[in-house]
Amino acid sequence: MPCPREAASLVLALAAALCACDRQLGHQPKFHPLDPSPFFSDGRSSRPLVAGTIPLDGPDPALATGIKDGRYLAAFPYPVDRAMLLRGRQRFDIYCAVCHDRTGSGDGMVIRRGFRPRPPDFTDPRLMAAPPGLFVDVIANGFGRMYPYEDRVHVRDRWAIAAYIKVLQLAAASRFQDLPGQDRRALEALK
């Protein structure tokens, strides 16, 4: 009677296959980002970039750093529209507000917790007159104790943040009576 025996072996094989299922499909022999590897001496499967690596499709260095021929770029290379400013505000609140505060006053939470020196207020006359390229340069390369953010903020976002800093400066320097009537009424309604 081969039939029941065949059926039994089939069930057993299926059970064995299912047992191995999670191990083979659930743990496939491949590396995920940041998985450890015994192959390399530092134990990392993700390899650090070789010094001096230049990305094949990398951005224009002038756009990435805001400096061209040793001078800060004074014009925005991307259209400054509402979408860009909103993006700039979002990125500023994520990466900059921690120290610079959401208003750009330089009194963010990390500063209040003891980070020194305090970053300058964006309403500083020197910064009010600064071209956007300066802010892009500082984001990309850091300044003083501020670390470079080139690994955290995309090139386009650097310009969006620079544009938003200009908005913050404009807002900080505006007087109530300079506002359009519509905005004045909206603010008065809040009182």
Partner: protein, 216 residues
């Protein structure tokens, strides 16, 4: 020769089979329940880490956005763990002598990465991409729990990544409040009963529940 089994044996055998089936079902049910307990899912159990990093302090206390450190969550399948340089952005100036941060300073000096213990892991037969979920407005907390309240990091409630938890949202995306404008239009933007609304949502769900969406 007398009969070995009395007529009642038939009933006893039937009852035994029924009882066996019942016990089998019970065992499956118990295994299912036990497998969902935090003892197996490790939900709510803090992982041992080389540095006792507190999301509670950094997110709730200081107001740092998740994306300040998990930079690639919006653009890549992997949300990203911060390199030591990100820690040192502040900790080169703040808490520079803290014993707790000795491993961070050592890593910054030697260039040897901190070996964090992975908290959440999906099996390899699941294709998962952070960027599409973040871009469609799913909050980090929906899957990772209230990380901003965790003094040490653990697998977050509400669920420890079971397929049915993924499907709960993939089957009824309109039930989960999100920032996604397109979905908001699908679920709320049409006046009730308008032609096209039900069909558009059904098509959206059909794509979301296709096997190939998650298993490729």
């Amino acid at each position: 020769m007398a009969q070995l089994f009395p007529p009642s044996s038939n009933s006893i055998v039937k009852a035994a089979f029924a009882a066996g089936a019942l016990v089998l079902c019970l065992a499956v049910w118990v295994a299912y329940r036990v497998e969902r307990t935090t003892y197996f899912t490790k939900a709510g159990v803090a992982c041992e880490q080389p540095v006792p990093f507190s999301h509670k302090h950094h997110v709730s206390g200081l107001g740092i956005d998740c994306r300040y450190c998990h930079v690639s969550a919006e653009d890549s399948s992997f949300a990203g763990l911060p390199p030591t340089r990100t820690c040192m952005t502040c900790h080169s100036q703040v808490w520079t002598q803290a014993q707790m941060l000795a491993a961070v300073r050592r890593s910054a000096e030697t260039g040897q990465a901190i070996a964090w213990t992975r908290v959440d892991r999906l099996p390899d037969y699941v294709y998962f991409d952070h960027s599409i979920h973040v871009r469609k407005g799913v909050a980090c907390q929906t899957c990772h729990g209230r990380v901003q309240r965790m003094p040490l990091t653990w697998r977050g409630y509400p669920f420890p990544f079971h397929m049915k938890d993924c499907l709960a949202c993939h089957r009824h995306p309109e039930r989960f409040p999100r920032e996604d404008a397109e979905l908001a239009r699908l679920s709320r933007g049409f006046p009730p009963g308008e032609r096209g609304h039900a069909a558009a949502l059904a098509e959206h769900v059909r794509l979301l529940t296709d096997c190939y969406t998650c298993h490729r």
